[in-house]
Symmetry: C2
Subunit: 399 residues, 2 copies
């Protein structure tokens, strides 16, 4: 079989393979049974589909021939209005009343609009691997801002030392992926002040925002946010529609004009059927979203308690979809533990190494991300027995 004989980008060849399929492969060795099914806690996926009323509306919107056609580059105007109203409801009345656009792939487009190869982006670690991969692929220099146990919060003071002439942005994700840490409002404010003082962008990814109580921060309501803020949001999790690929970004008009050039080439327009329905769902599904929020909050508590019953396993941080779990095996890399979790006891997770630059000390590589949103509580209750089984098996496993 003939293979490609043309040259490929060195950057892209050097960049890591997608981690989710890799983790799924580890489970190939596991033989699931009815009593012991495979439990997939790797990719963050909504545990339940959207309510029937939304599925019906999605079907109606899709049957309408107008949604088969191209739409506005920036997203349908009525959806953008609905998002604007929602921003006001969630964060308080914004100081300026403008600047909204919808898109998926917002992080990629944002990075392209902000920075050129050699420019630096500050990313707290553990990071979301698609952020790290994107920077690598675009030739942008990733400057890690290490966050440590027990709370995994980034330090603005540490961040100051990392800022150089080539720094273009600081990226924050709250609730965090992978740690689940929910950044305090005051912490987000301090990063905002820092970004504004140094004329760099603060990129705030709030994909999991709707699963947290109260306004996540006061930037929209109380600061000149267009000067420094680029706000990323996804409709995948709040509306349980990751298969529709719809997200959004909120930023200054200056920035949106530039990012629009990129989005014109990357996507022409966002996929349309879901746009029409999300416009409705933002208001109509707010009780449903609150229900999911309470369910996830309760599940975080349940999971923490469940792990208290297992020797050596402990939830370090947790929030929204994720629990960041400390494993009991000193001197063993998290990837090894994740592999055995999948292969021997049928739980697919993502090891901390997937979210981190190489660790200085093996002790730091002790965390594993469990996406506890993926399954119902009954399934989650199967986890402790599996972890105990791994503890028992451990001395017999090849290392």
């Amino acid at each position: 079989m003939q293979e490609a004989r043309y040259q490929l980008s060195g950057r892209v060849r050097a960049s890591a393979a997608p981690p989710i399929p890799l983790a799924a492969q580890w489970a190939a060795e596991y033989s699931p049974t009815a009593a012991d099914p495979l439990i997939n806690l790797s990719q963050g996926v909504p545990g339940a589909p959207p309510p029937q009323a939304m599925l019906d509306k999605l079907a109606d919107a899709t049957r309408d021939p107008t949604t088969t056609g191209y739409g506005a580059l920036a997203g349908d105007a009525s959806l953008r209005l609905a998002v604007a109203d929602n921003v006001e409801r969630v964060y308080g009345p914004p100081a300026q009343e403008d600047f909204r656009v919808t898109a998926d792939n917002a992080f990629y487009a944002t990075m392209l609009a902000l920075a050129e190869p050699g420019d630096e982006i500050i990313l707290p670690t553990p990071w979301y691997f698609n952020h790290q991969m994107s920077l690598e692929q675009l030739g942008l220099s990733l400057v890690p801002l290490p966050c440590h146990a027990p709370d995994f919060l980034p330090s603005p003071k540490d961040c100051i030392d990392l800022i150089s002439d080539r720094t273009r942005a600081i990226v924050l994700v709250s609730p965090n992926n992978p740690t689940g840490a929910i950044y305090p409002r005051e912490l987000i404010s301090r990063f905002a002040v820092l970004a504004q003082a140094r004329n760099i962008a603060l990129i705030l990814d709030e994909t999991y925002r709707d699963f947290v109580d109260g306004p996540p921060h006061h930037l929209f309501a109380k600061t000149d946010w267009p000067a420094y803020l680029i706000h990323l949001f996804s409709f995948s999790k709040s509306y349980a529609i990751p298969g529709h690929r719809l997200g959004g970004l909120i930023a200054s008009r200056t920035f949106l004009a530039q990012v629009s050039k990129l989005l014109d080439c990357i996507q022409i327009c966002p996929a349309r059927p879901a746009q029409r329905v999300v416009e409705w769902a933002i208001g109509a599904m707010s009780d449903w979203r609150d229900g999911v929020k309470h369910e996830l909050q309760s599940r975080q508590n349940v999971f923490r308690e469940l792990l208290e019953g297992v020797d050596g396993w402990e939830v370090a941080t947790g929030g929204a979809y994720f629990a960041y779990v400390k494993h009991p095996f000193e001197g063993v890399p998290s990837q090894k533990v994740s592999q055995y979790l999948a292969a021997r006891v049928g739980i697919i997770t993502l090891p901390g190494t997937f979210f981190s630059p190489p660790f200085d000390r093996i002790d730091e590589d002790r965390y594993i991300r469990f996406s506890i949103a993926n399954v119902d509580e009954a399934t989650l209750r199967r986890v402790p027995a599996r972890l105990k089984r791994l503890n028992e098996l451990w001395p017999t496993l090849p290392h």
Copy 2:
């Protein structure tokens, strides 16, 4: 109002604004009436929605909760199989039987996977502006390969002189956007031989393939295509679903492994509801597609004849969606003519300047793209009277 105070990518700032919204603005001066409505022949859009059976299936697929969830990074396996069968039907049995993936934004991802800033991509002119914009945004050097009237076909001989150590790819679009030129099979073969001899990629964009008779080329059936070919396809036009944003690329396994890393970051997975339905539509809608093909072929003939009745206006090339039309006004840039077409006689088109580097001689800037797929034949029949009106008005217009 506060504007962004952070820095933006110089590349992106220097790149052109999206052309379609710009052209739409020219029509703001036009006052449409029931007798003289605005005729939008700018963006290439399907003139009619897909058939009701497909709309119904889209609705059913969308109502099914499984399509709200993430799918495979490379596209759903069953769709990929259906595409593989279709490739065999359209092009003849391929020498190798593998290597398919679906994605939208395939050009952007392909360019990122192939090349780094400073690398060169050979692009025949007139080019598709989203290709040119993508290269600009990614810092890739665009090497124009000029194609000339009357047939606007690229010359492999001219191309040889443009190849350097940094050349990574030659991009061909057939049927062409904007000229509508349908590249002869032998011409495509010659470029394939050239790409293979020089170890560079041949990127072949066949978005409009289904509107042309017979196999578009013999590369899949008769050559070691994985060695040099990257084949891009969109489901937007063949299935009249641009609003669903679904496309695909076919290439060697080597290449797909790299491009998957990018697609994981840019889109995670392609939007799902349409995937399930396209799988069905590839086979079930083949008569419908043939009907659209015949309709477009007939419309190309009708439009050519219609323009024969108008002084000075002439179809230079035409195929699939587009007619590339020579305007009668010597020494006047195409953009000026397009502006007046929109503002004074209510026809939105895209001027040749949007598809070209700056012209050496003003005489070359004489072409305008009419997307004649957009409207029904009755609407198309309104065009000659409008062009005649512009001819009459012309001496009175400010220049």
